[in-house]
């Protein structure tokens, strides 16, 4: 028996790997995507600001600046094709002092150098756009192309579309060794090994660790933690576009951000951490975040917190994205790492860049005839009129039975997931896709119902239903 040889193995199903896999799916290639987690987009792509940055922030001339601006331009079409919520709301970078006003005007110039349409607007105009922003502000950078997305479904729909077009996905596959073999590489995982002509390392915060299985790169990646609050939906909008403070060396600062789900994010902090899996939140940092948010948007209702979380930025020691072969010795092991913010915004441009710059010269890229860039449309009852909702319930009664009461998600919408080429099998997976448990009760009511439903659909025992990773069964395995 000859083992199958893939054309490309992508390590990591975060946003970079997922969007690239989906782009590669248009060619006649055998593509395998490996991820160590029990769901796609489960690390940095799950815990971030969900902003599609415009590109006024990165230093002019960097790869980051170029790909951010290009990626932003690709987003409307990408989200249209993948049926993902994207609000191109624009953004404000608000000055709170005379000194900051100068910095904001510098930022406007930088943005223009990067090719981004943005301008300085006066304090009164700031308040017209966002009445809850600090009354005595000193004006702001206003950019119309910035926006925010549903980050969870961008990754999962990209994967779904990739799978629809022939890509293979293997979850819970942790890469433990990589060896150079004749004509490519052998990628060894905890669940078997795979031969491939070319490896794409898109393993995020673990990027250097994975590359070092072959050869230690010249740069390091240090996780930089960002903690966030999630605030309840409001009767009157708090803000309608991401509100930034003036950026500093530590990053873009503490933001107040609307989400596509109607809640608000406040954060992130910025602290280097030793551990590559340190997602703990702490009270002091959160208190500090709350204080900063209030200086920008004084009425931020910090008493209406429904969740706190932390994410890790894969911060490279030398600042820019690393999108290149590991070394001269390894032209077919290509790193796509060191991608901290703006990772989401850049992802489609990163895919385009790596294909044009490296893959076209290394593999024969022949387009498939039957490639379909569209995911099958999802039923999203909350976006429909009463009439359309009524009509759908007539066709399928499960659309009428509400399972998640906070977010008003029906049993039918949950069941729909399971007819997809890629579907989640965990409580968190369902939450990320449909928002069941994202509301103010945080799954207190719908959690047990979804455990029961998953056990029915997947034909598993109740105590085999995981919260997230393998062996995170909510119900323990013990007889009466």
């Amino acid at each position: 028996m000859t083992t199958k040889k893939y054309d490309i193995v992508i390590i990591g199903a975060g946003v970079t790997g997922a969007v690239l896999a989906r782009e590669l799916a248009r060619y006649q290639l055998d593509v395998l995507i490996l991820d160590k987690e029990n769901d796609v987009g489960n690390v940095t792509s799950m815990a971030n600001s969900a902003i599609i940055h415009a590109g006024y922030d990165p230093l002019p001339g960097t790869l980051k600046a170029k790909l951010n601006v290009r990626g932003n331009a690709l987003y409307p079409k990408l989200c249209e094709e993948l049926d993902v919520s994207f609000k191109q709301s624009g953004s404000l970078v608000v000055a709170t002092s005379e000194d900051e006003k100068i910095l904001v005007q510098d930022l406007v110039r930088r943005g223009k150098q990067n090719g981004v349409k943005c301008s300085y607007i006066y304090p009164r105009r700031v308040l017209e756009l966002e009445p809850n922003v600090l009354k005595d502000n000193y004006g702001a950078l206003y950019c119309k192309t910035c926006g925010y997305i549903d980050p969870f479904n961008l990754v999962s729909h990209a994967i779904e579309n990739a799978l629809d077009n022939g890509v293979t996905l293997k979850l819970n596959h942790l890469v433990t060794a990589i060896a150079q073999v004749d004509g490519g590489y052998q990628v060894v995982t905890n669940q078997g090994s795979y031969e491939t002509k070319l490896v794409i390392n898109a393993s995020g915060v673990n990027g250097v660790k994975v590359a070092s299985l072959l050869e230690t790169p010249s740069f390091k990646i240090t996780p930089r933690k960002g903690e966030y609050f999630v605030l309840e939906k409001q009767f009157q909008p708090l803000v309608t576009r991401p509100i930034f403070p003036v950026p500093s060396k530590k990053g873009k600062g503490i933001l107040v951000i609307p989400t596509t789900g109607g809640t608000y994010l406040v954060g992130p902090s910025s602290e280097y951490t030793e551990a590559f899996d340190d997602l703990a939140t702490d009270t002091l940092t959160l208190n500090e975040i709350a204080k900063h948010a209030k200086t920008l948007v004084p009425s931020t209702p910090m008493h209406q917190v429904i969740r706190v979380y932390a994410g890790l930025r894969p911060t490279p020691s030398d600042g820019d994205f690393h999108l290149e072969p590991l070394s001269e010795k390894h032209p077919n092991f290509i790193n796509l790492i060191g991608i901290e913010s703006p990772g989401f915004a850049s992802a489609p441009a990163v895919a385009e860049y790596v294909i044009n710059k490296y893959l076209k010269s290394r593999l024969s890229l022949v387009e498939k005839k039957n490639y379909n860039p569209l995911v099958k449309k999802y039923v999203k009852l909350n976006e429909l009129s009463d009439e359309a909702r009524a009509a759908l319930i007539k066709t399928r009664s499960d659309y009428g039975l509400i399972i998640c009461n906070c977010e008003k998600i029906s049993k039918g919408e949950i069941l729909d997931l399971f007819s997809r080429s890629y579907f989640p099998t965990t409580i968190k997976g369902i939450k990320k896709r449909l928002r069941c448990g994202f509301g103010k009760c945080q799954g207190g009511f719908c959690g047990p119902k979804i455990v029961t439903l998953l056990s029915e659909v997947l034909k598993k025992d109740l105590n085999d239903i995981n919260y997230d990773e393998l062996e995170t069964n909510i119900i323990i395995k013990e007889s009466r």
């Binding site: 009511f445 109740l462 990773e469 119900i475």
Partner: protein
């Protein structure tokens, strides 16, 4: 669109009690909308005893208490639509309802909200540390244990001394789990003494007052928690940390009225995070009433059904005389010692004989003089009460005649005597 005289949203104890009372007063066209498959709501999972002492002078379990109300509801042929979830309500009292049978819009002459409450989550208290599997609210643990017959853990710690937390400490112990302790950030328990004795002391489960969880540890599954003592400002005291190895952290850190179906700025929220109601349990939208735990969280179901009956009586009066004018209208401010006050707005009607105020104190008070004052700081009403504790509601009845000359805002003061 269909029309109904009275629509009751939520078929728990408050909803059933309201429906029964309204029916007995003569409102025959009643519809209960229930999102679940059975009547009784959360009482279905409260299999412990202690219900009904006030109502039936008997100590019943939750299922026994609800069965009596369900029987009274059925005897009257009061219509209940199960698996019907309210999606929206507008100011014209048109209710959009989703169910497997379809989408229906119901035009109601009067509505009573009895949708209960939900549990404060780990995120809402900014629980520090990791977010592994194994951190679960007491109500969820109760559902898994009592409804599905499934266990959530073996080594358990409870954060918060709310009554459900205490009840679950006992329940999980009886089912074979080891409950290592209960931590309460306040210097006093938030649960009833009876539950401290019968759920903790009986099983030698320690209660750590002025303690809280300062770190959750465990990447995927809960492994350990760190508990610290807190100072008078509820800040952790360094050096007092203790580590417990547990697979489950049960949270009993508060219940919040479930306001989510009121996503309409016209429904003004009150200090309980429930609906703003007056002394008739009437909201700012004429004909919309609220009672039970979706208004303020009660200590006993007996008080829930009592309140629901009063709300139903007022709904009946509203249906009889929709244009009744108030003799006087004024706001009432709570005292700083009160956690909340119901009602915060008063409308005196011709038929009113008394106004009932309900509140909870924010900390235990042995003896207090509770005074209701007007804008000139003249005392209109005062009463001395003993043994006020946060875990028990206080109810005061004030004669309506006292308010006939008043149109100014009033305020409460609590004078701590002992």
């Amino acid at each position: 669109m269909i029309s109904r005289t009275l629509v009751i949203i939520g078929g728990g104890s408050a909803g059933m009690a309201a429906a029964i009372k309204a029916y007995d007063l003569g409102v025959k066209d009643i519809l209960i909308l229930e999102k679940g498959r059975v009547l009784g709501g959360i009482l279905n999972q409260c299999i412990h005893n202690g219900f009904g002492l006030q109502e039936f002078q008997e100590e019943l379990t939750g299922p026994e208490f609800l069965a009596r109300y369900a029987a009274m509801t059925q005897e009257r042929n009061i219509e209940v639509w199960f698996e019907h979830t309210v999606l929206n309500i507008n100011a014209n009292k048109e209710i959009t309802v989703s169910s497997p049978q379809g989408l229906v819009i119901i035009k109601a002459q009067a509505i009573i909200f009895t949708v209960g409450c939900y549990e404060r989550s780990a995120g809402a208290i900014k629980l520090p540390g990791d977010r592994p599997k194994g951190v679960i609210t007491a109500g969820q643990a109760q559902y898994y244990q009592n409804i599905l017959g499934q266990k959530v853990g073996k080594q358990v710690f409870v954060l918060g001394s709310g009554d459900i937390g205490l009840i679950m400490a006992r329940r999980l112990t009886l089912e074979g789990a080891k409950v290592l302790g209960v931590a309460e950030i306040m210097p006093y328990s938030n649960g009833l003494n009876r539950n401290i004795v019968q759920c903790l002391e009986d099983y030698e489960i320690p209660l750590y007052l002025s303690h809280t969880v300062t770190k959750v540890i465990g990447k995927e599954r809960l492994e350990k928690i760190e508990i610290s003592k807190v100072d008078a400002n509820y800040q952790p005291i360094l050096g007092t940390e203790k580590i417990y190895e547990v697979d489950t952290l049960v949270l009993s850190v508060g219940l919040i009225p479930n306001l989510e179906i009121f996503n309409n700025p016209k429904f003004v929220t009150s200090s309980t995070r429930g609906l703003l109601v007056d002394n008739h349990f009437a909201s700012e939208i004429p004909g919309i009433f609220s009672a039970g735990n979706c208004l303020h969280v009660h200590d006993l179901v007996d008080f829930v059904v009592k309140e629901a009956r009063i709300a139903a009586t007022n709904a009946y009066h509203y249906l009889q005389n929709q244009n009744e004018v108030s003799l006087q209208e004024f706001a009432v401010l709570k005292a700083k010692e009160m956690g909340y006050l119901i009602p915060e707005y008063i409308r005196i009607h011709q038929s009113d004989t008394a106004v009932t105020f309900q509140f909870r104190v924010r900390f235990p008070i042995l003896k207090a003089r509770i005074k209701l004052l007007n804008a000139k700081n003249e005392v209109l009403f005062q009463v001395v009460r003993l043994y006020l504790i946060p875990s028990e509601m206080v109810s005061l009845e004030v004669k309506a005649a006292l308010f006939l000359q008043n149109s100014e805002p009033l305020h409460y003061e609590v004078e701590v005597l002992e």
